[in-house]
Structures are given as C-alpha cells and as structure tokens.
C-alpha cells in the first residue's frame, strides 16, 4: 500500500481503484434495489437507494471529505441502534403476535389457496394409455360419466375413441390402439400426470392416487368490495376483526395479519387487570433490585478499596487479586454455581445451615428468599467492578487534601465523609448510573438464577424475581397465546423510557457534583 501512495501514476491508479470499487458496490446496490422493488418492499428500497446515493456523494465530492470518517459510525449506528429501536416502536403499536405475522394481502392469498374435497368425494377411476414411453391419453370413469383426457388436460367426450376391454373385467385394456400403462409405467409419467388439472364443476380434478382423480373445490371466496370472506363449503361469512377473519359465531380463520391497534398494548399494561398488577409489581421489584445491587455492591467495593488503598496493609496485591476473582469468572458459570449453592435439598448453603443450626432456608422457592438470593448473587458479581473503579478514583484524590484535613483536626470518619466521598462521587457517579441501568436490564442473572420464579399468582406470567426485561421476554416468547411481540415491544419501549428518565435525571445531578468540585 505504502508504495502506491508515493508517485504521481499511483494517484491515478488509486482513483481508478476507488471508482472500480464504488462501481462494484453500486452494481450490487442496484441488484438489491431491483429485488426490493420486485417485492414491493419500499422501506428497504428507500434505505438502500438513499444510502448508496449518499455514499457516492461522499466518495466523489471533495466537500464531503471530513464526513467520510463519520459515515461508517453513522451507518452502523442507524443499522444497529436506530433501526431496531424504530422497529420495536412500530411493533408496539401493532398486534404482531402468533397468528398475526403476515400482511393482510399475504394472509388472504394463503387462505384463498385452500381447497376442499366435497363430501361425499367426487372421484373418477382413471387409466392411462400410451406406448413406447409416450403418454397418449387418459380415460376417467365416474359414477355417471366417462371422459377422454389428453395429457395437456383437455377433456372431451369418449365418442370417436375406441376403448377395448378384452377380458371383460370392466378394466379397459386398449385406447385407440395404445395399451394401458401398468402401475410401474405410471411412475415414468408421474410428473405429467400430477400436473394435469382439469376444470370441472367449480373446481379442478386432479390425480389423488394411482387409481383416482378427485374433485377439489376452492374453499373460500374473497369479496374485496365488502371486505368479507365466504366459506363456499358452509356458506359462512367471515369479517375482518382485529386482524383476523371471524364469523358471527366467533369462529376464526388462521392465519391473521398484522394490523395497527393504536395504544392498546400500552393501555393494557396500565388498565387490564391481567397485566397491570404484574406490571406494577415487576416494576417496583426491578427498581429495588437495581438500586439495592448498586448501593450494596458499591458500599462493599468502596470499603474494600479503602482497605486495599492503605499502604500499611501487607500482601495487598494478593488480596486484590483474590478479590477480583468473581469479576474474572464468566457470569454464566458463576450464576449457575450460585444456583447450585441455593438448592434447597442439596445446596451448599443449606447443608452448612443444617449442620450448624438445623435449619433449611427455601432459597429459590420462597418469594422473599428468592429475592434475597438474587441480590446476594448480584452483589457478589458486581462488587469487584465497584472496587476497581473506587481504587482508581482514590488514587486521583490529592494527598494534600488529607493533610489539610488532618491539620484542621478532622477524624477518619470526617475525612471520609467530607473529603473522600464527595470527590469520589464526582468521578464515580456516572459509573454508578451506568451500573444501575445495566442492572435494571440484567436479564442473564435473572434467567440463569431463577427464571423469574417463584410463582406469585396464578396466570400472571411474572414471578417474584422477574424484572421488566425478563417479563418482556416471557410475554414475547412464552405468552399464553403464543408469542406476543406487540405487548413485549410496548414493554420494551416503557423500559427505554424509564431508563432514559432515570439516567437523564441522574446525569443532571452529576453535573451539579462537578460544579462542586470545580468550586474547590
């Protein structure tokens, strides 16, 4: 590469290369655009076309030079953050769920393709005739009528054709001088035979098995003006209700389609008793869980950091290494180990408690103790992080401040409360807010440790230790009516708003702390 950059001829080469790469990219983009156009996928078409034009401008225009460095970041931001967030927002206003995943047109198209065989079935015995590997024609014999059927699917009267039954067993042996094909020979023509569809009555006849042609009728008729679906078999009328065709007696036809439901998903969380009780409880627990985790693990981490920061302590490095261990083990593994410790029958904790005090604690099966278990585990997993950031922040507090405080006659507690803590908070508060937001959505911990259990009330979906995110997951993938993506997305949007609000307020307060430090 470096060799290219020097020299004048190489500038030309570079320009050519640039143009060639851009051309290649554009060609691909055009190909994708055609595909999207073909599908009628306007959103993707617009995004691809717009993005490509933008890229061309960026590469070709001299004025856009600085933007080139921003573009990759912006591109991935919109692809991985803006697009999923926007999509979730969109889904939260729809009924997207099991049975409602298609567009209305697609759903109607699928339903219209259904056929049925009238009862009793209308069927024709058939024989095929031909010679030297050629299919000549078929003869269909029904209860009342018989037909001559060409391999192209044209049906006509048998008159004018010579059908011979030599042995009088009611099975014709020859048609217009061509012998009847054996079952084995039928396989050679199976493709042709199965392709034959004969218009008959209001439907089609086609091959049902190796001896019969059967009548199949289209099951439904769609009336686009009235927007109704008519079952031709029973005459029942189905009307579109909430993204699905439903008859007056409540019978519905699957699949349904995705339709806008406005704020329904949001309203249900706050007013439908099946959801709002669980939502309120889960919300409260999520806040308590996140707050307690941050406060307790920060307290423990800070205490340990101050201890380790004391130069008089011997073997400091060893302690520090040991205390970081929980942070070094992947949470996936340690959470499962903790789950084992909490086991009521065979867990380590209960074995110890039983042999010392003769008691057994229902760690994961009782709502209160399950919450205690979750917080204990999470404090264990989080304190090394708190300790590390506190250690770093402690180093940055100038020693003179302590000397000055000592001269002023401040005791150890006063020095901590008046000097150490306020100064630590200046640099650590944003970290704590981040930690709160992370814990607020710590799905891994909940899912691996308790799965949200134990159960609190029948049919509420959310258990005692479910946080908002695991509740959303349960709604999305383990709901009572299959997957309720719409509901789950609404919950996800709620979570986003809550986290954004909490973070916003906290950062505003942090700025105040910074001013305090500036004042010093």
């Amino acid at each position: 590469m470096r060799v290219w950059v020097s020299g004048r001829g190489n500038t030309l080469l570079r320009a050519l290369l640039k143009i060639a790469l851009l051309g290649l990219f554009d060609a691909l983009a055009v190909y994708w655009c055609v595909l999207f156009l073909w599908e009628g996928n306007w959103a993707f078409l617009g995004a691809t076309a717009g993005g490509t034009l933008l890229l061309n401008w960026l590469v070709l225009s001299a004025r856009s030079y600085p933007l080139r460095y921003l573009f990759p970041g912006l591109f991935f931001l919109s692809l991985m953050v803006v697009y999923p967030a926007g999509y979730t927002f969109y889904i939260s206003f729809t009924n997207y769920s099991t049975g409602h995943t298609l567009s209305k047109d697609e759903a109607i198209r699928l339903i219209l393709r259904r056929t049925y065989s009238p009862t009793p079935p209308v069927s024709f015995r058939f024989w095929a005739f031909g010679e030297s590997g050629e299919l000549y024609a078929l003869v269909l014999r029904g209860e009342k009528e018989s037909f001559f059927l060409s391999p192209e699917g044209e049906i006509s009267d048998l008159e004018g054709h010579e059908l011979i039954d030599r042995d009088g067993d009611e099975v014709p042996d020859e048609l217009d001088g061509r012998p009847r094909l054996t079952r084995r020979e039928l396989f050679q023509h199976i493709k042709q035979l199965q392709d034959i569809r004969v218009r008959y009555d209001e439907g089609w006849l086609h091959m049902a098995n190796f001896t019969e042609f059967r009548l199949y009728l289209p099951r439904y008729r769609y009336d686009p003006e009235e927007g109704i679906l008519i079952d031709r078999k029973t005459g029942k009328i189905y009307r579109p209700v909430k993204g699905r065709f439903v008859a007056d007696d409540g019978e519905g036809i699957d699949p349904g389609w995705v339709t806008f439901v406005g704020l329904q998903n949001y309203i249900r969380f706050f007013f439908d008793p099946r959801y709002h009780k669980a939502f309120g409880r889960v919300f409260l627990w999520t806040v308590v869980f996140a707050a307690l985790t941050v406060v307790l693990s920060f307290a423990l981490g800070l205490a340990l950091a101050i201890l380790l920061n004391d130069r008089k302590l011997r073997l400091r490095k060893l302690y520090r290494a040991l205390l970081i261990v929980p942070y070094a083990i992947p949470a996936f593994i340690s959470i499962l180990i903790w789950r084992g410790f909490f086991n009521t029958q065979v867990g380590l904790f209960n074995q110890v408690l039983h042999s010392w005090f003769g008691i057994k604690v229902p760690w994961l099966t009782d709502p209160f103790w399950a919450r205690v278990s979750v917080i204990l585990t999470n404090v264990w997993l989080t304190y090394p992080y708190m300790m590390l950031i506190s250690l770093g922040a402690l180093q940055s507090i100038p020693g003179e401040l302590y000397e000055a405080a000592a001269i002023d006659g401040a005791g150890p507690w006063q020095r901590f409360a008046r000097v150490t803590f306020p100064l630590l908070m200046v640099s650590l508060a944003p970290m704590l807010i981040g930690s709160f937001a992370y814990t607020f959505n710590n799905f891994t911990l909940i899912w691996l440790l308790t799965r949200g259990d134990p159960v609190v009330a029948i049919g509420e979906r959310a258990g005692a230790t479910d946080i908002l995110l695991s509740y959303a997951y349960k709604l999305a993938f383990q709901g009572a009516r299959g997957n309720e993506m719409g509901m789950a997305s609404a919950l996800a949007v709620n979570i986003f708003l809550i986290v954004a609000l909490v973070s916003g307020i906290s950062f505003a307060r942090t700025r105040m702390l910074e001013e305090v430090s500036r004042g010093m």
């Binding site: 493709k191 199965q194 190796f210 699957d254 029958q345 229902p362 029948i458």
Partner: protein
C-alpha cells in the same frame, strides 16, 4: 421482512430446494435423516422416483414450513412431534390423511388419536413416549402395585436430612403431575360430540383433578416430596442412589445407567378414590378402573407422538401416499428408525420385536391408557397457568381445589370461554 429473510436463506442455499412434481422432498432433523434416506433409496430403486431428504434443524422446521409451504417452496413431507399438528392444520398447510385399513390396524390407536385435529387425521405416527414409574432395583426389588404400597415404601425410604427420598415427582412441572390429575378423572380439554378437542371444556378443576392433586399435595405436606424439585437436583440424587422411585420418562434411563444404577420401569400404581362410589353419583368422569384393585384408578400420563406429516401444497400427493404406505411403514424401516430414535414404535409389528426389552415394555404398558397431549394451539394458554397452580400447591400457599380452580378459570378467560 420475512420474505427478505427467505431470499437471504435461498442465496445461502440453506433451504434452496422446494418440492417439485415427480420428485419427493422430505424435511427432517439430523437424527432421522438417515432412516428416510434408507427408505428413499428403496423407493428410487423400485420406482425410479427421486426422493430427497434435506436436514433442517428441528427448531426451524415448523416455522419455515408454515411460510414456505403456501409459497410453493416447502417440502412434501415433514417429520415432527404431534403437538405441531394443531398450529399447522389451523394454518392450512397439512393434508388430511386417509389411512388404509390394514395400516391403521397395525398402528397404536392412542398414537393415531394424537395426530387428529378437529376430527381429521393429519399425520402417521411412528414413535411414542410418555412417563412411568422408574425405580432403583437396589432399593425397590418389586414395584408397588397400588398407591398404598408405594406410600409405605416411600415413608420407609425417605429421610430428607441425608437427603434420601423414597418417591419423587419433578415439580412444579405440569407434565409430570398429569398422571395424578388424570387418574381420578381430570383432563385438560374435553371433547365435542364430533370428537374434536373442545377448548372451552377445561377439566383441570373437576372433582377428579382436585382429588388427584390432593394425593400429590399430601406428599408435600408429609415432607415426602420436596417442593420445587427440579430435573438437575433429582437426577443428581438418583445417580447417587438416593432416590428409590421417580415418575419420569425414557430420557432418564441412560442417566441412571451411566451412574451404574440398575433401574426397572413399571406403570405408575393406581390411585385410590377419595370416596365410593367413584365417580360420585351424577358426575361423569373419564376414569379407567384398575381391574386388580377395587376403587382404584389407573393414572393416564400424557402420550407424545412423533410422526410424518404431509404438506397440503405438495404437488406429489399420489406419490407421497405410495411412498409412505409401502416403503416407510414397514417393519425394517421402523426398526431402523427405532435404532436411531429409540422411541417406542407405534407400528405394532416393530413394537413386538423390541418389547423384549423390559424398559421399552414398562413404558409402553405405562402409556397404554395414556391421553395424547392436546395438539390444539390453545394448549399454550394452559402450560404457564397450570405451572403456576402446581407451584403454589407445592409451596403450600394454596389448597389444590383453589389453585386448580383459579388456573382453570384463568385458562377459560384467556381462551375467551366465559
């Protein structure tokens, strides 16, 4: 979006092959692919028709089939469990199957019933499974025949401080509690006069279900059965020889054998009715009396079935029938299938061959009177709620009657039956 995904899949060649006339295409997972390849080879030799077996990950088959089949991009046949049938048939992607009489006669009737949806058959079963009483032969030389015998044994062998247990049931898992719910007449969904499952007839809180749950509840109350006993805990104890009897399925046999535990399998003992006569006068309950013990009734575990299903959009229906009836449902192929996927064969000539194995025979006896796990999509409203009820019963927070009643009411409410 979905279509786009499909385009992406196509370009990767994952499911590029669609059913085409004159050639059969089968989607199945990697365990079963070799068997169908074997049957395919025989079919191609005999008829000259090509049969292609495509391996699709088990978890993807159902979803991809629903979208691909109507678009003409799906296979002719899929292999899967019977609880797919409801959703697939409701979406109109499965073809109804008219079993020839002789094949029907040589299939296990409960397994065939499992594949019926709204009175129509949508698949042919090849393997079945369910739970029974698995016991450690070192602790229990002879399996108990009645509940009373089992209780005696359990009391003698249980000491939670060791911990050692005489008899356990994984809980609050609804699947394993169903034999207790069903023995005295409980059920999930009743049937309409036409024989279809009726989602509004929920029998989870009828007298039989409550009486059965009381029996289970008594185990918790007496301290014989720990609440919240999960799979990992009990299998661990079982491997250490600290569990004498457990209600479980064939999947646990290997775990026991790996640990050197010698196990036997028997039907779950019959449960005593809380009053005589049972069912009480004027109440109708679907119970099967134990012929050997008066006033005792047989537990009826869920039966799960694996089967072959046919696409309603297959352009090859005549070939499919010919292939299935004459080349797949044969003793050789069924035995080969059993070897790779050791579920109890539903094809009776093959079952008789493998019934020499006491474990196979034990489970087959246990599920002989079983009830097919409901295959209607409404079942998804049942599992979670039922689980909640069993958890609250186990933790002694609710009496079985209240818990099951609340659960059943919740299910009726969710399914719009009130």
């Amino acid at each position: 979006m979905r279509k786009l995904l499909f385009v992406a899949l196509l370009s990767l060649g994952i499911s590029a092959i669609a059913a085409e006339p004159g050639k059969l295409l089968i989607w199945c997972d990697d365990t079963r692919a070799p068997v169908f390849e074997e049957a395919a080879k025989a079919y191609t030799e005999a008829t000259g028709i090509q049969v292609e077996v495509v391996e699709v990950p088990f978890g993807d088959i159902r979803g991809q089939f629903i979208t691909a089949a109507p678009a003409g991009e799906g296979p002719d046949l899929i292999i899967g469990p019977h609880d797919w049938v409801g959703e697939l048939a409701a979406n109109g992607v499965l073809a109804e199957i008219q079993l020839p009489e002789d094949l029907k006669a040589s299939l296990d009737p409960v397994s065939v019933e499992a594949l019926v949806y709204q009175g129509k058959l949508y698949g042919i079963p090849y393997g079945r499974e369910g739970i029974g009483l698995v016991y450690n032969k070192a602790l229990v030389p002879e399996p108990p025949a009645t509940w009373e015998e089992l209780l005696d044994l359990a009391r003698k062998l249980t000491d939670p401080t060791v911990p050692q247990y005489g008899f356990v049931v994984q809980n609050p898992d609804p699947y394993h509690s169903f034999p207790f719910i069903s023995a005295l007449g409980g059920y999930i969904f009743g049937k309409t006069p036409e024989g279809a499952l009726d989602p509004c007839d929920v029998g989870l809180d009828n007298a039989g279900a409550v009486a059965g749950a009381e029996i289970l509840d008594a185990l918790f109350e007496e301290g014989l059965l720990p609440a919240g006993l999960d799979w990992n805990t009990w299998t661990g104890l079982f491997q250490e020889g600290r569990i004498a009897m457990v209600v479980t399925g064939p999947w646990a046999i290997r775990i026991a054998r790996d640990a050197g535990i010698e196990v036997g399998v028997a039907p779950i003992p019959s449960l005593p009715a809380p009053e005589t006569p049972w069912p009480p006068k004027g109440v109708e309950l679907p119970v099967i009396p134990d012929p050997a013990h008066p006033n005792h009734f047989l537990p009826r575990p869920f039966v799960g079935v694996q089967g072959v299903m046919v696409s309603a959009y297959s352009p090859n229906l005549p070939l499919v029938e010919d292939f299935l009836y004459n080349y797949v449902f044969t003793k050789e192929i069924m035995l080969f299938l059993y070897k790779l996927d050791p579920r109890i064969p539903t094809f009776l000539p093959a079952y008789e061959e493998v019934a020499a194995d006491p474990v196979v025979k034990g489970f087959a006896e246990s599920i002989k009177n079983g009830i097919p796990m409901p295959n209607i999509p409404q079942m998804s409203a049942v599992w979670g709620t039922w689980y909640d009820a069993m958890a609250l019963i186990g933790n002694q927070e609710l009496e079985p009657e209240d818990a099951l009643h609340q659960a059943a009411e919740n299910i009726r409410d969710t399914l719009g039956c009130k």
